[in-house]
């Protein structure tokens, strides 16, 4: 019974982490989940306290899923769901206008320089 409860706790914890990491690229989200799973398995293989209280303590030491996700976003460079969208949209309107204006007006400067008496 204790084993089942422990597995349920771990399943819930990893589920929360997965949900908190939803804005990360899938490969990186999976990598972190695999690493956490390996950590939990390793800890359980060396831990003497195999009760569900022991597992609860182990998960508490791993940390709050929201904090983990915050750290992942900062380390991996995703600032939140909006950041992914920004990257995908390519150059914005301002960039395009800047390029057009530069192309149109730089010859004016050259001509003025040419005509200038000094």
């Amino acid at each position: 019974v204790s084993g089942n409860r422990s597995n349920l706790l771990i399943h819930d914890y990893l589920g929360q982490v997965e949900s908190e990491l939803r804005d990360l690229p899938p490969s990186q989200r999976q990598e972190i989940l695999d690493d956490l799973r390996a950590h939990i398995d390793e800890a359980r293989s060396v831990e003497t306290d195999t009760s569900s209280a022991g597992v609860r303590h182990l998960l508490a030491r791993l940390g709050d899923p929201a904090e983990l996700a915050r750290e992942a976003r900062e380390r991996i460079g995703v600032e939140g769901p909006a950041a992914i969208e920004r990257v995908k949209t390519g150059p914005g309107g301002l960039e395009i206008v800047a390029i057009i204006l530069t192309a149109l007006f730089w010859p004016v400067g050259i001509v003025l320089t040419w005509l200038s008496p000094r």
């Binding site: 695999d34 690493d35 390996a38 398995d41 030491r61 791993l62 940390g63 900062e74």
Partner: protein, 131 residues
């Protein structure tokens, strides 16, 4: 924007220490790996033993992912005779270079801060203000 100096100055001491710990952690991991390869759980134990370097153990894994992506470490899953499969982390040449330059920078930084802090006599700082 992460780790901006201007933001750090405005932060209280606790938040500042937590930012510094975050920055230093990366290089403590590289330093441990310079000695020999480690698997994740082992790294966590070494850093926890050092005291205060790792407050939430799980936060090491996003960091390790980042180090791998930056080419500072390589990883390899291997079976273990005593437990579940382990993912081993090994330092690359680029990781060694990063560690070397950080160590130099850190010493300069530490000495500079110490020189200022230690040059101020205890009396000059005065009484601690009640909160």
């Amino acid at each position: 924007m992460q780790g901006s100096v201007w933001y750090s100055v405005a932060m209280n001491g606790t938040a500042l220490i937590s930012q510094m710990r975050r920055g230093a952690l990366e290089f403590c991991v590289l330093a441990l790996l310079a000695h020999r390869e480690h698997y994740g759980f082992e790294l966590v134990q070494r850093l926890s033993d050092a005291g205060g370097l790792l407050t939430s153990q799980g936060t090491i894994y996003p960091l390790l992912s980042r180090l791998r992506k930056d080419g500072l470490v390589t990883t390899e899953w291997r079976e273990s005779t005593s437990g579940p499969p382990r993912k081993y982390y090994r330092l690359t040449g680029a990781g060694r270079d990063a560690l070397y330059s950080y160590r130099e920078q850190w010493r300069l930084f530490r000495d500079a801060v110490d020189a200022i802090l230690n040059s101020i006599p205890e009396e000059a700082i005065g009484e601690r203000q009640p909160i």
